[in-house]
């Protein structure tokens, strides 16, 4: 298997993004995978699939990212995508309180319907639209954003979301896909939070097929530029 020929064990993790429409799910992924941002991103139809590696000190995690459509009526398709997912990013828009309500619904859904032990991160996106747009860029510390209060467009306070996240035992971040703030940190934190055991056992059929793939490189064309980028998940 992969871990026999590599210095660091490598494993793939299926991650799904959920959240209301136009909160920036695809943009988060685009930032993470291509370190890019598009102002007018076509809405995701069904779901988009992308991959990206994340290097941890002890191992390499390859994210297989399922970026889902956000419109309400696509919700019934979601089980198709979060099936077997080991991690989920539930995204809301810091400037839209209803999106947090929707995010709560998704969390509840995942907790009841997704694989047990799924790692869920609650992510408030569009931090660039608030006054805390750029608080200590590159801080890397997820707790970095404390002085929220009255951002220009902010409608969801950090405390509210954070206390909810703590209650439900979720990872919590506020990000900006536009500036890239905190984006990589989210994925790194998730990578760290995935229990070692689940890496071995999950995605049974997929994992065993890793051999036939002969390494992941062949299809990770998206990785190229990202590998060299400075914000690589070098933790």
């Amino acid at each position: 298997m992969a871990d026999s020929n590599a210095p660091k064990p490598s494993s793939s993790v299926k991650l799904v993004l959920l959240g209301e429409a136009a909160v920036g799910k695809s943009s988060l992924v685009l930032r993470f995978v291509n370190n890019d941002f598009q102002e007018n991103k076509e809405p995701t139809i069904g779901a988009a699939f992308l991959t990206q590696k994340c290097n941890l000190p002890s191992r390499t995690i390859k994210f297989e990212i399922w970026d889902t459509a956000g419109q309400e009526r696509f919700a019934s398709l979601a089980p198709m995508y979060y099936r077997n997912a080991q991690a989920a990013l539930v995204v809301y828009d810091l400037t839209k309180p209803t999106s947090l309500v929707k995010a709560r619904h998704w969390v509840a859904e995942l907790q009841r319907q997704a694989s047990p032990g799924i790692v869920i991160a609650l992510v408030g996106n569009k931090l660039d639209l608030t006054n805390d747009g750029e608080p200590g860029r590159g801080d890397g510390d997820s707790e970095g954003v404390e002085g929220e209060d009255s951002g220009d467009a902010r409608k969801v306070s950090t405390e509210e979301a954070k206390s909810y996240a703590e209650e439900e035992n979720l990872l919590f971040f506020e990000t900006s896909a536009k500036t890239g703030y905190n984006v990589t940190d989210v994925f790194t934190a998730i990578a760290n939070a995935i229990p070692e055991t689940s890496l071995k056992s999950t995605r049974g059929p997929g994992a065993s097929n890793a051999v036939s793939r002969g390494g992941e490189e062949q299809r990770v064309n998206l990785n190229g530029p990202r590998e060299a980028a400075k914000e690589g998940c070098a933790c």
């Binding site: 076509e42 809405p43 009526r73 019934s76 089980p79 198709m80 509840a108 009841r112």
Partner: protein, 1214 residues
Amino acid sequence: MLRESDIDAPSLPALLPYCLPTQSQTHALFHLALPPSLSKNGLVTLRTLRTGFRYELTPTLPSYIVDDGLQRAGIMFNISSFVQKAQSAAQQLIDPMQGLNLTNSDRNPSKASLFQSQFRLPSSQTPLFEIPAELTIPPSNVTHGGKDHDRGWHYAGRLHLSESYICFSTTTSSFAHTASTSTSSAFAGQTHGAGPSGNGFTFPLSAIRRVERLNSQNFQFSLAITTWNGIAQDQAKDKAALKERKDFREQRITIQLAGSRQACERFCDGLKKGLRGAVGNVGKLKRIIAECYSEYLLRPEEKKNAASPDAGLGVIFKYPGDPKKLRDRAKMRLWAEYLRDNGRNATLIRQPTFHKLIRVGLPNRLRGEMWELTSGSFYLRLENPTLYTDTLDKFLGQESLAIDEIEKDLNRSLPEYPGFQSQDGINRLRRVLTAYSWINPDVGYCQAMNIVVAALLIYMSEAQAFFILSAICDRLAPGYYSSTMYGTLLDQKVFESLVEKTMPILWEHLVKSDVQLSVVSLPWFLSLYINSMPLVFAFRVLDVFFVEGPKVLFQVGLAILRINGEELLDAADDGAFISVLKSYFSRLDESAHPKSENPKLRAINRFQELMVVAFKEFSAITHGTIQDLRLKNKDAVLNNIENFAKRTAIRNLGPDSKVLSPEELVSLYDRFYGVLYERQQRDHIIQEEQRRRAKASKTRASEAFTEHHDHGVEKGRVGLGPSTSLMDYDAFREFLASVSKWAISDAPPPSPRRDPSDRNSYFGSFRRSDVNLLSPWGSGPEPADHEFMQRLFRKWDVTNSSSLTLQNVVTGLAQIKGGRDIMGTITYFFELYDDDEDGKVDREGILRVSEALLFLSRRGLEGALSNSNSTTMLNGMTEADSGSLSPPVGGTVNERFLGSVSAFIRRCFEYADPDNLGTRDEAEQMTRPDAPIMSKEDPSIDSGAFAIGDDEDEEDEEDMLAFDSPSSQPNAQAKRLDLDLESVPPAMGKPAENVGRRAVSKAQSEKANVALDPSNPLHITLPTFRMVVLADELLEQFFESSFPTSLHITHGLPNTAGQSSSLTTFSSLNFSRPATLSPSGAQPGLAGAGRGLRGVLDNIVTDASRVAAEVRRRMEEAQRELEKNALPGQRDEDEEDEEDLQGPVKSTGAYGGDAERRSVRSSDRDLLDGADAGAGVTKEADGSSQSLLDTNSEQEGRVDRVNSATQRIVEFES
């Protein structure tokens, strides 16, 4: 066979002047001629036909038009009212069910819907007549002029006639009622597609200029049809110019009918009728046609400079792809030739070349028009040309959720196309999507529609795109964009099973690798390949898709997998799978055989290869295949969606839902949507029935084709995207009737409704007026309609929207059932009747509350009703049958409850606060706990209303006054209240006190009667209400358990049958009038005595003492006895209980009248007697109690009474 040359040439120009329109609505002349054997000329002068209808040319034309016009006007009126009805129900142009055929009658879809989808006609069209026929298209004498040897083309097929279309198709499908389903759905044609795939035509009758009966040798019916082809260019009305124009040629085809003489005549009659009806639509047709690019393309020389019609954004921003590479010019030339020979837009005839031309790809500027024609959206537009602009105007400035969603996506729809980087393009997109979301609110807006519409707008005008979107959503991609996207999910399942069937090895590989095919294929279908393939290729797929229907999506999808099969077998997971296909799509323009020696083979690109594989290798995939598989997978898919929706909905219910058990929530959900679904089904059936009836009475012509209406439409089913998730009042009644027996009507047959205007306007506003047609309640019991239910509805309808959401219902029920204590329920009830939320319920309200209590208990009480000694003793008081310590049966309890209600009314009035100090508010009362007592002393307050506290009971009044020291007012007040409550024990097992403190005075009754005087407005407050309720054990139990448990959420009603037999309570109350009171005016009480239940209630109070005077006298004696013994020991207990009661009871008002309090128990009976007396029920003078209590022993008699009561209740309910 008749040939062109057989027709008498000179007669044509002779007729021409008459045929030319002098006004736009000049009717199409209908020439039918019997073949006079003398003439060799095919065309004979006009003669009467067998019907005796005489058609002359111009001279008699006006009268003909007038007559026919009147007749038509009548018909039109009827039709338009149907249409309105249909549109108000759902403003859809095409019945969305027809595309998917997801009805229960899937296996036998209605002929009409098959007919409509075969010819892509609007849902207004039904197959009226059909007949086997042979079509002859004359040789094109313009382009190939002079080729006499060419006899033209002949096609055998079937001619169909609907209300406003005549269609010919070489596919042999039949839609006659005798035809089998297989022949009706046997779509064949070039690629075995549904839709207008065969050769033939679909002519709007308004596009037909003239029909002539030709003479033929074998005496068969032969019709020559001349169309308005090119009508748009006749605007000049310059006949001379027209004649001169050498290139102009009328489009004239002949059709030989191959049926029996009778069948032919019937068909011709129908056609004649249809043509007459179509006359008025010629102008409409002309307007529509003027917007067609083909007219511009084929414009005559003199109009070379005419402005080109809107052919999409591509005209401004360029069409995608390189025109040279696409060979656009060559294609355009070919099309121009084809259209010249075979008619354009409305008069286009499909010949094999047509299908070939479509396969090679449509030229850019003609693409929009051909899409419109082949998809049938052209006919939708023709039917309602201004719908698009009208819709935009109508909803101008309005907002909706769909619009918010649309706005989010406007900037991200084909953003790479320059047209959508401009405001013009964005605005067009916005308008089309918005307009569609208004006419089809069930769909509203679904992501992917933006991409599809953006693509359409490159090639067509806004209005064209709007109608074609409708055709896509309803017919070509049915259910894809619905709110549950069931169509998408279903077609994914269908696609998967096709892959399994056609490529088993690949399928096995997918299963083994745990790759979910739909994650790849779903976007293909949803966006019709537009954002999967490069645009130029996606449009080629669309070209075929619009002609041949949904199966094209499957064929292309299968071909993609087939072509990439080898690579896909190597792909081991979703990611690899996706990237194989991604790279394939990006290289579609490359050569499919780059290494081939053969240059021709090398020239074939991958896309061409794809098309060949799709339509050759998978030609066996037909419309029928798809329909079958859809049907097979439908239930599983819908169930999945419904389970998901249910799970989600229940989970997302607010915190209120937590007080209900999960089972309760689940069944609540089921009931809620069950009721909505069933109601929609019924509505649909009723509507259909009405249509059918109206139609049957209107037209005799269609008698041969009695329509088969399928009643299995599943509109409203959650899985299909519920068209509503809101419950209106009638649905709410139905819902209540399914969970509680009191909500079931007492009337066995549907009864005429009361005039809504008689009612609270709040409810009048959304009451449907004609519910009585057919049975509006289906098989379920007819729900009652009581004021209480209206109030409940209003209370639950927190948003004041005249409708309830599931959340509203859950919250509402949670408030009643959710483990509330009795105080909560009492408060709830009070608030229900506190109309202006000022903490007061007026006289009117008190009566209404009691009505509600009677209403709720009329089928007996449920829940834990204790039959404590005290109760028994009370009831047994006059009976001496205290032996009935044995648990009294329900009937007895229920009848006692009636007494409790009577007492309730009386007490309410006795303890009510006078209202005449209008300004006195609640707060003031708080500070003046002694108000009632003061009122007695203060003349300004005492307006003759009953005072509380009575001279009779001096000591009690002393007690109260003693508490009245100002320093201890709050405490005193509370305490006194507690005492009040205490002394009329809610707790059981204090018979001594109950019995003991009983004193009734005539004076009181009279006073109470005074309370009914409308000139003395009064009200009770919550604490008073509470006290009065708690004063009666049965009432208390009612609020504590009976009322909450009367709602059987989980199991529903045990048996709804025989409900009326349990109607006991009202048997003693003779309702002379419907009991639902009308709040006639602001003056409470003006409706006054003598009317309805009000009268009864008034009489109860009035006559109570008189009727039962004797009984009372004896009772008083007994009470005095008991009182002496019981009182001393009682106090201590009272003190203890006080503590318990102190909490919930926050007293504000003041209560007095210990004496009264003590007397109420006995007066119950009196009131009851009074009721009987007042209502004039025949009975022995002193045997009334007996008759009530002995019901057990006289079941037979009771049944009789019940029957009569039931009848009276009919009025009550209605």
